[in-house]
Symmetry: C2
Subunit: 348 residues, 2 copies
């Protein structure tokens, strides 16, 4: 049996209530008893049973993070370790712990989340996925669990932190247009994700503005994986009118694009230019290094926990239905995957 509050109360010759107060830093307690209690606590290395504590106060001191898909495939993309980095760093400052939720499929993940939410294991939740068809969001909203999403939700009334992905998509595309590319393709993940939709919309906006004919546009969408990107782009490259540049919504996918281009006997950036997104470590390692849009993943994570704590705060003072939004800025990092296109005017 572990040492309990009762035991230390006995040794100190006081009641459990007093010990509890001492622990909580309650001021109405004599300095001497406080000291005596503290000494015994240190001596015995006492730590309160969090389950008992959480049972009575309504806080668990931990927040839940819901990974997309199964934890297995999620960690494949460097995006996730990076957000987690931001999240854990911020959580540390608040003395909060982090419970991870995964699940090989949506059903078991839902079960997992329900257990931690209704099981009162977490005070709030950060969602790392914004898919259109996600029941989880409805569920969490209905349960009135404080939550914030990383990435724009496809529903109203949910707090989130995100980049301005349509702006970022637009800028990435314009970057290519300014350098004389006209036939530019967009490659993104599934259109069920808001990120994909937004970046594509940005791409479309830029193409519209530049007056590029629909025939010169190509929108590809597939899984967020290197292999699928490879397959998809390989097809396109063998068309007679292949694009001279790609806007790719994810560095990992860009890896697939690089592979496809090189397998097709073409070279980057001479034959095809690429600008991608996320600017994770690997983008400076590829050959050539990728020009990529830095989305400040770390900040996404940090800000998400700040917002979550604000929500938890509010929800305990019953100011229901508080939602907020925070946009972290993006920045295109120039590297070596873009060259001048066939329509370059020479003055960029």
């Amino acid at each position: 049996m572990a040492v309990t509050i009762k035991e230390i109360a006995e040794r100190a010759g006081v009641s459990p209530s007093t010990v509890s107060r001492a622990l909580a830093g309650n001021p109405r307690i004599s300095a001497e008893t406080r000291a005596r209690i503290q000494r015994i606590i240190d001596e015995l290395g006492y730590h309160p049973n969090m389950n008992a504590r959480s049972l009575v106060v309504k806080s668990s001191g931990t927040i839940g993070v819901v990974l997309p898909r199964s934890g297995d495939s999620a960690f494949l993309n460097p995006f996730f370790p990076e957000v987690l980095r931001g999240i854990t760093a911020a959580l540390e400052e608040h003395g909060y712990a982090l419970l991870l939720a995964t699940g090989r499929d949506d059903a078991v993940k839902h079960e997992h989340v329900a257990r931690m939410v209704q099981g009162k294991q977490v005070d709030g939740v950060i969602l790392l996925e914004s898919r259109a068809d996600d029941h989880l969001i409805f569920y969490l909203r209905e349960q009135r669990v404080p939550m914030v999403m990383i990435g724009r939700p496809l529903l109203e009334g949910i707090a989130y932190v995100d980049n301005d992905n349509v702006l970022a998509g637009k800028e990435a595309t314009e970057y290519l247009l300014e350098r004389g590319h006209r036939h530019i393709a967009f490659l993104g993940g599934s259109l069920a994700y808001a990120v994909t939709v937004d970046r594509r919309d940005g791409y479309m906006l830029a193409m519209d503005k530049a007056g590029i004919a629909p025939a010169m546009r190509t929108v590809l969408s597939t899984d967020f994986s290197e292999e699928d990107a490879y397959r998809e782009v390989t097809d396109v490259l063998h068309r007679p009118d292949r694009p001279t540049a790609f806007v790719v919504a994810d560095d990992l996918m860009a890896l697939g694009v690089i592979g496809a281009v090189q397998s097709a006997g073409l070279t980057i950036p001479e034959d095809v230019s690429i600008v991608s997104f996320n600017n994770v470590l690997l983008s400076r390692l590829t050959n050539p290094p990728l020009t990529s849009v830095d989305i400040h993943i770390l900040d996404l994570g940090r800000k998400a926990v700040e917002m979550l704590f604000a929500l938890i705060e509010k929800s305990s003072s019953r100011v229901d239905h508080y939602t907020d939004t925070y946009i972290v800025h993006t920045q295109l990092i120039e590297r070596g995957s873009v060259s001048l296109g066939p329509f370059a005017s020479g003055n960029v």
Copy 2:
């Protein structure tokens, strides 16, 4: 207020005990009441309060994972997402959740771990770090918490899963020796880590066996980071008798080595060869791609949870002090960072 067992008992016209039994799948209960109860549970979307449950049964259904250093810097190295990948996958199969422990310094991390262990939030712990001076291990052993380490502990009597790092270090070095290198340097992380020590020992063994004079050996040790590796190696490269090859204990460090070599105006593999460790994603992205020893990180993670569950099992049946060891094999993956050295015999 969330829905409780009491409430569903009322609606079903039975006692809380009965509902509890139904939930637990207790066979001594009539099919009809069970069905009725189940219907109400589904209807109300009831989930038990895990804190209350954990308070009485002595299991929390979650295990703790202790990250090295602060979570912040840990996620910088691709090794950690990858173990986590293995761990979460295996945990999923057991229906267990995962609580992460970090801490910007050893003191707060210790506090964090103590809270989750003595606070009965976890049934066991996986340690992701094997440093010599780690008080945490003593603490956990004294608390008799089921635990397994990933990486060889520097103490006896602790269950762990690891690679045979001295063998792997030896093989990596021999690979270079066979290809005609004699002046081979070893670059590792801090010698407070067992990995570093073991791989270096393997290097020494190979050099001994090949009869290489101590003057031709160089052992470098620094932080597990790209920057430090860069700095350390830059020094060495400017010595008149620079090594023709490096055994580098980590892919991320190898990145720094590559940078240093190229900054010194030398080329890989012509001027200096590299074999590194871990074989994470980036090792095939560098230019040239890194010949690296695959340590099967995923298996390290999976196996660790298997062992942990075995331990938890044993500990509940009070067969104290059960320890075990599992070695996952390694495999050198040949890529483009090694060429023949000055003493190549031509017949490798």
